[in-house]
Amino acid sequence: MRVPLSWLNDYVDVKDIPVQELRQRLDLAGLEVETVEIIGYEGSELPWDPEKVMTAEVLAVRPHPDANRLVLVEVNYGGEEHEIVVTGAPSLFARKGESDLHLKVAFAWEGAILYDGHSEEWKKHKLKPTKIRGVPSRAMVCSEKELGLAEEQTDIIYLSPDTPVGLPLTEVLGDYILDFDIKGPFGHLQSIYGIAREVAVLVDRPFKREPLEAIRRLQLNVVKQPEFVELEIADPDLCPRYTATMIRGITIQPSPLWMQLRLKRAGMRPINNIVDITNYVMLELGQPLHAFDYKHLRHRAGSEKPAIIVRRAGDGEQMKTLDEELRTFDGEMLLITDGGGPVAVGGVMGGLESEVEATTQDVLLEAASFNFINIRRTSQTLKLFTESASRFGKRVDSELALVAGARAAELMAELGGGSVGTVAGDLYPGKPEMTVIQYDPALAQRILGVEVPVAEQQRILTALEFQVVPVNSSGEDIVWDVTVPSYRLDVRIPVDLVEEIGRVWGYDQFPHTLITEELPPLRHNKELENTERIQDIMVGLGLDEIITYSLVGPEDEVLLHPVAGQSLELPGTPVVLRNSIAPERSQMRRSLLPGMLRTAWSNLRFMDYIAVFEVGSIYYKVGEPNLEAGDTGVAEPRQLSVLLTGPRQGRWWQETDREYVDYFDLKGIVEALLARLALVDQVAWSKGAHPAFHPGRCAKVALGDKTLGYMGELHPLVREAFDLPEQPVVVLELDLAILMEAAEAADAEKKVGTMATYAPVYEDLAFVVDEAVPALDLQRAIVKAGYPLVADALLFDVYRGPQVGEGRKSLAFALTYQAPDRSLDEKDVGKLRNRIIKQLERGLKAQLRTA
């Protein structure tokens, strides 16, 4: 909401308050000023030197002795002598030869800094004395462009005829435009008058109410049915009030300069006097208005007295709106109709047919009040966003309608040369009850924590035009009946009054305290603690954390199963958006992998090695929402995913391992993670079948009967689908809840183990087994067979070849034998070895490999 201070000053005089100080005061009270645009004054893009840029009057226009297209203009700028200025301004040129003129203009003296009017860009230059075709010239009359007021170079600017001569131009055209960011549904702050009313309270100055007194000035006789139109509100739930005023005999013409200037500064384009006045009053008072050309209404009524009927649209009813679009309405939209059908979408936009046009003489002016929710619904459904709909949508005081109509009628008569009838029509079936709040001033302290004296509370509320009537002021129990002004539709309950008191009193005066309150019982947040634990472990293992978008595209899931006939089993059904900003952000992810792969892709442009992880949720529907239980029907389990790719070690000045990382690098990381969580022995590893992975290099990781997730090398086709280079990319995705449940159980059961003090015995044993026997089975079998004396069985060699035969492999283990209570001798070791060999032969058909 753009508010020129020059306009605001009409209602509350704040000229002497520095604008930054005013801004600060308004900011603190909740009227947030987003920007301040400065025109002419110090601080603006082009400050006008008060000594060199001033008001003046053109007295005469004479021909230039030596140039056909130029004229010499005699200017009175308030100095002792008149100045002769050379100009080619079209409107002055047109008056060549005239004298005794008193055209008020903006005049710049040599030395003034102005914009170059003939440059396409904003180019500043200093006015210098010169000779134009032999005639000396040391001043100029200025255009809007030269003063920085308009983009385009047009004619020179003319000021109101009553402008005094010789004033600094800033006093006439200088301005500060405060652009307010009014959050929330505050109809009473959607107008300059409304903001001025707030300002008056905040700076404690008198407030001028003239704009609201047009009914009295016009001596309007307000009736339900005026002679010029029949009024009917068929749906008072959507239109609590409809008023109509007639202005006859007006002439459509441009509105005066001052009004055009104000409209432009407030951000609206001047059109003609009638349209401008409806806009002007809307900006001034916040009441949207609509002007009908009366002759069209009469014509549509067969030259009879027209009737306005406000009713819901019939389903599918149509009308062409002012923007020349044919609109189709539904049964919940409110139309202003006459006998011939709709003439306007109530409160949103007028119809094309009854629009004010160049030949309009009589205007029927509508000032009505509409249900704000319905206006918003209509505006959103029709995608028709107008100033009118925006204001009505933030609730406009229904008491304002007739007042604003009269104000506009008064201006139309004044600026359009017409006259306002003596009667105004006003149907008001939905007049609301005044809101009266029972208020106990003690509430202010309870909510605010500071004691605002009762008298001060009363003063603030009264200044804000609330009526405070003490109902009971005996002793401790003070109760007031506070009547809310009609325009404060946002104030309904006692704490609303507390806010008014707080913001006017000033939060900056409040002391700072900390809660003094019964302590809530502290609880663990297991999920967060687990997340942080995993994050810390992964970072400790040298991985970088990434956080990717939760929203992905459906294609991302498809790309994870590139082989025809294979499908990817993702949990539940996807959470798909009804509205999305882009197809690739149209559903919630059910796997962290796509985001991880895209991150790898974007980073591989700049580096060759990537090791990243993400701890984040996946999302899928598991059922219908249950509103009562607050159940969304969507599961959001947290996952851990990891990606590694690139050379194992970076280049260095000594030789390094530049082979690409593979399955076993990732496995090492997982094993370290499991070691940190004390889960190494509980995890079951098996060959995994997952369409996104290399079929031979994929492991399924499980805990008990629960699948923890998959890890391995990416399928080459998936790698290709995500545009990744031809090198192994190893990834992992695990369910964090399952992992951490086990980790918590392991923590709970954890007891410290003994560290034997007797010397261990080391021995290497190699076993030959079938290719299909997993190494882990063998390793675990050794530990089990030698329990509890095998302290470690470390696999250190895998051999395949002629020595062991086709389809067989040899796995060599470094065993550590250790007893807690004695040193093992040759006899103990021999027994142990035999037991291991026997059990492995029996269980896994493993044969001891002898040298």
């Binding site: 929330g184 704490v495 900390l514 999920e527 958006l577 900003i581 260095w652």
Partner: protein
């Protein structure tokens, strides 16, 4: 030459030889030459028998003294030789200490995680625990229960991703307020609610469709506005620095009444005014207010007996301000060159 003279000659020669030795090998040779089985000193002992009886004692004594002397000299010299040898070895083994070390990957937590943890830590000191609520939320909780009915103009404050008639992606962390209240009633509450939020907005340098927020909620029997202001001021001191000043502005949010916004003096210009603070000298820290009676009621708390405050803080923006990050898209594009700077 008599035996005495001979003895003295061996002594002189041995000492003279010893000082010229500069290696372990020569030391061994020296020791063997004088103290070996056939060493020169050893032989002197054997010759004692050829001396007259009365001279034997004197000779013997002298021999012992010399043995002692030579052995001490040897130990001292051997130590010197050893040190000299070590020194020579160390000198040849010197490295260029400025050569790069063998690389070990240093992992980094995401900047958002770091910022979140910092926020958790500060509020933990003030007794706030972390409560998490879902990303996919019910319209009822995201809007209706927060005093924002359908078509209400307040809804314009949030551009929403819709899933279906009843579900959406939460536009703010505030729906967690009602969830935690319903779960905890009738306990007093002091929680912060962090999480991802989503807005139906085109992605630009200034706005993202996904971002984090940290909501705060305190409910008790005498929670006041001054508590809220105090809590946020403490937060600002810890997060932005003890020298920061704050100011409190009146504002509007449908779920708080009264509502405020808290600003800190611009960390870039120190309050003088710059493009980042739009020449106001102030930067917004977050919105806040006293929990609206309707929201308390929706959470199960009787507003006549209970009061509460709530606040909402950004996560990316403070980090952006702190580190001069000008493009919010850097956060979730995950350019490791960006993330590894933190």
């Amino acid at each position: 030459m008599d035996l005495f003279e001979q003895l003295e000659q061996v002594r002189t020669e041995a000492l003279d030889n010893l000082v010229t030795i500069d290696s372990q090998v020569d030391l061994v040779t020296w020791e063997k030459r004088y103290f070996g089985r056939k060493g020169l000193v050893t032989q002197q002992l054997r010759s004692i028998g050829s001396l007259p009886q009365e001279e034997r004692k004197t000779f013997g004594q002298r021999l012992n003294d010399i043995k002692q002397e030579l052995s001490t000299a040897y130990e001292a010299h051997a130590q010197q030789v050893k040190l000299a040898e070590i020194e020579a070895e160390l000198a040849s083994g010197a490295v260029d200490v400025t050569l790069p070390g063998r690389a070990v990957a240093a992992g980094h937590l995401h900047l958002t995680t770091q910022t979140l943890r910092q926020i958790y830590g500060i509020f933990a000191k003030m007794g706030f625990e972390v409560y998490e609520a879902p990303d996919v939320e019910l319209e009822k909780l995201n809007f209706d229960m927060l005093n924002i009915p359908a078509y209400h103009p307040a809804r314009d404050m949030w551009d929403t991703f819709w899933v279906d008639e009843q579900r959406l992606l939460r536009t703010h962390t505030s729906p967690g307020q009602v969830r935690v209240m319903r779960e905890r009633y009738p306990e007093p509450i002091r929680v912060i609610l962090p999480g991802k939020c989503y807005r139906y907005e085109q992605i630009t340098a200034r706005s993202e469709h996904q971002f984090y927020q940290v909501e705060g909620l305190a409910v008790g029997r005498n929670i006041t506005m001054t508590d809220l202001i105090g809590t946020l001021t403490q937060f600002t001191r810890m997060f932005y620095g003890a020298s920061r000043t704050t100011r409190v502005r009146s504002s509007y949010f449908p779920f708080t009444e009264p509502s405020i916004e808290v600003d800190t003096d611009c960390i870039l210009c120190g309050g003088k005014g710059c493009p980042v603070c739009k020449y106001t000298g102030w930067l917004e820290i977050g919105g806040a207010g006293m929990t609206h009676p309707v929201v308390l009621q929706n959470g199960g708390y009787d507003p006549d007996e209970w009061s509460g405050f709530a606040f909402g803080l950004g996560v990316e923006r403070p980090a952006m301000m702190k580190y001069g990050v000008e493009d919010i898209r850097l956060f979730y594009r995950n350019d490791l060159r960006f993330l590894r700077q933190f």
